[in-house]
């Protein structure tokens, strides 16, 4: 076993060429060895994983059908519940929470498909983060250069998948927290439509904007995991009631008829040469000759920012009163500021959200997908506080998500695809589709992957 995808591993287990127990043993060895360098894991569930693998091997030996993810090791951002463990959400404070009574629904669904949970992953505290840094558990480190950020807040997910520790991770994305680490770590990420996948059993950040989704090294793996996780769950009131719409079997469909445009204006203004080069590469490959203007994108980002800081502050207000010294200082100071934002600003931001949604949805009368950079630059150095954005020095932590925020603000589905450079660091491009059309974004990503335009190679060294 080397750098296999989830699909390859599951096929090998189903055919009896490889045992789930061997895969888990190799995975645990690799985590023990490589995670010293990457700091992606906060908990390794070794005993549970070995028991689960033995059960899958027994099932395969007795001729029972193996699931589509049979024997596939996966790990989850530590804001997602694992039965018997406190759900940390990157914090010190939550260590004092009682252990979760049950696995989160999405974990149960992945395991029902044969996948094997091997641990919980590092993240920016309470998900208010684009860097992957964490003052309590240390920074997640980028597998392409461990002096650099993974991006966040699903930082451990980016590092664990990009570094080959696991082929599949589950993350969350409120403003870009799946797409940013996907970009910096050179992997694939899917942020589904808002309300598509249940969030029950995960520690919230901003209910108005929170999503869960997979990170992988192939498009097929995104689709397999996504299909396994779809379905109703009355425990999440935001779940939209949409029936499961499997996509894996649609990946090979012809994409020539799909109309693709690249986002211009705001989405090019602050982008580095690397981000523009990646966008232009993908645009050329998909024949996206047309540039489209997403109206009021800067204001949409501003509104997402206001809702995030105020809702996040409301969530944590008691903890800010009682245990302010136990927060990561970078997160605490932003949350305290958020507590002071007037309610009128939040209501206005939610009103603007509805206007913006109507305006953007009209664009999908003319196109099926829109391309945009995932991040304005490649991974900054760990500890770097500012970077240049559109000719101005700006804080890193608050601004890495300038291109992701206007999209998640209205819940559009996005696949982040990695464009490996000839040399240097990877960077991602967002393939954005209309609501509930994850299939369109995944088909385009699959087409790009088949032609070698986007891919997630093993980092050197």
């Amino acid at each position: 076993m080397s750098f296999e995808t989830a699909a390859e591993l599951a096929a090998a287990v189903a055919a009896g060429r490889q045992s789930a127990s061997d895969i888990v043993a190799t995975t645990l060895d690799r985590i023990a060895h490589d995670d010293k360098r990457l700091n992606a894991f906060t908990t390794v569930t070794a005993e549970r994983a070995r028991a689960r693998a033995a059960a899958i091997d027994a099932a395969v030996a007795s001729g029972k059908p193996a699931g589509p993810l049979a024997g596939v090791p996966f790990a989850i951002k530590n804001l997602i519940d694992i039965a018997g463990l406190p759900t940390l959400a990157g914090s010190r404070i939550n260590r004092d929470h009682p252990p979760a009574a049950a696995d989160a629904k999405l974990v149960a669904r992945l395991e029902a498909a044969g996948a094997i949970l091997v641990g919980a992953l590092n993240m920016g505290e309470y998900a208010y983060d684009f860097t992957g840094e964490n003052s309590h558990y240390g920074p997640s480190r980028n597998p392409h250069d461990t002096a650099r950020m993974t991006g966040g807040s699903s930082g451990g997910a980016g590092g664990a998948v990009g570094g080959g520790l696991v082929p599949l991770a589950l993350g969350s994305d409120t403003n870009g927290s799946i797409r940013v680490p996907s970009s910096f770590c050179g992997i694939f990420g899917l942020k589904p439509t808002y309300g598509r996948l249940t969030r029950a059993g995960s520690f919230p950040f901003v209910s108005s904007l929170d999503h869960l989704g997979p990170l992988t090294r192939s498009v097929r793996d995104l689709a397999l995991a996504y299909d396994a996780m779809q379905g109703p769950d009355p425990r999440d009131p935001v779940y939209a009631g949409r029936p499961a719409e499997p996509v894996t079997d649609l990946l090979g469909l012809e994409t020539a008829g799909l109309r693709v445009a690249a986002a211009g204006g705001y989405f090019r203004a602050g982008a580095s040469a690397e981000a523009l080069s990646a966008l232009d590469t993908v645009s050329a490959a998909l024949g996206a000759v047309r540039e489209i203007e997403i109206p009021e994108a800067a204001r949409a980002r501003a509104a997402a920012y206001v809702i995030t800081t105020a809702e996040g502050a409301a969530l944590h207000l008691d903890r800010l009163r009682e245990r302010p010294d136990d927060f990561d200082p970078d997160v605490r100071d932003r949350l305290i500021a958020g507590a002071l934002v007037p309610g009128s600003a939040v209501v206005q931001a939610q009103k603007f959200r509805r206007w913006y949604q109507s305006a953007v949805l009209r664009l999908f009368d003319e196109v099926d997908a829109i391309l945009a950079p995932a991040t304005p630059c490649v991974a900054p150095l760990i500890g770097q506080k500012t970077f240049m954005l559109d000719g101005k020095e700006m804080p890193v932590r608050a601004n890495i998500g300038i291109y992701t925020q206007p999209i998640s603000f209205i819940g559009l589905p996005v696949v982040a695809v990695p464009v490996p450079p000839a040399k240097g660091l990877p960077i991602g491009v967002q393939i954005i589709a209309a609501p509930w059309r994850e299939d369109v974004a995944l088909r385009l990503a699959s087409d790009l992957e088949a032609r070698g335009i986007v891919r997630a190679p093993l980092p050197p060294g």
Partner: protein, 61 residues
């Protein structure tokens, strides 16, 4: 008073009223973040919307 003085006064009064205790060394970062957030709020408020417009989240009874 400068904008910075106004923010400091707002932070001092607001945190006190909310029962939040802040240390002097946190103030500069809080001021920076609040200024950014209020700037974003201003940008949103400047966009004209009709009185009848509904916020995005709709509660279903």
């Amino acid at each position: 008073m400068s904008d910075s003085d106004d923010l400091d006064a707002f932070i001092a009064a607001g945190t006190r009223l909310l029962g939040l205790t802040i240390k002097p060394e946190w103030r500069e970062a809080i001021r920076l973040h609040l200024a950014i957030s209020l700037g974003h709020a201003r940008a949103v408020a400047e966009f004209p919307l009709p009185d009848e417009s509904d916020p995005a989240p709709v509660f279903s009874a």
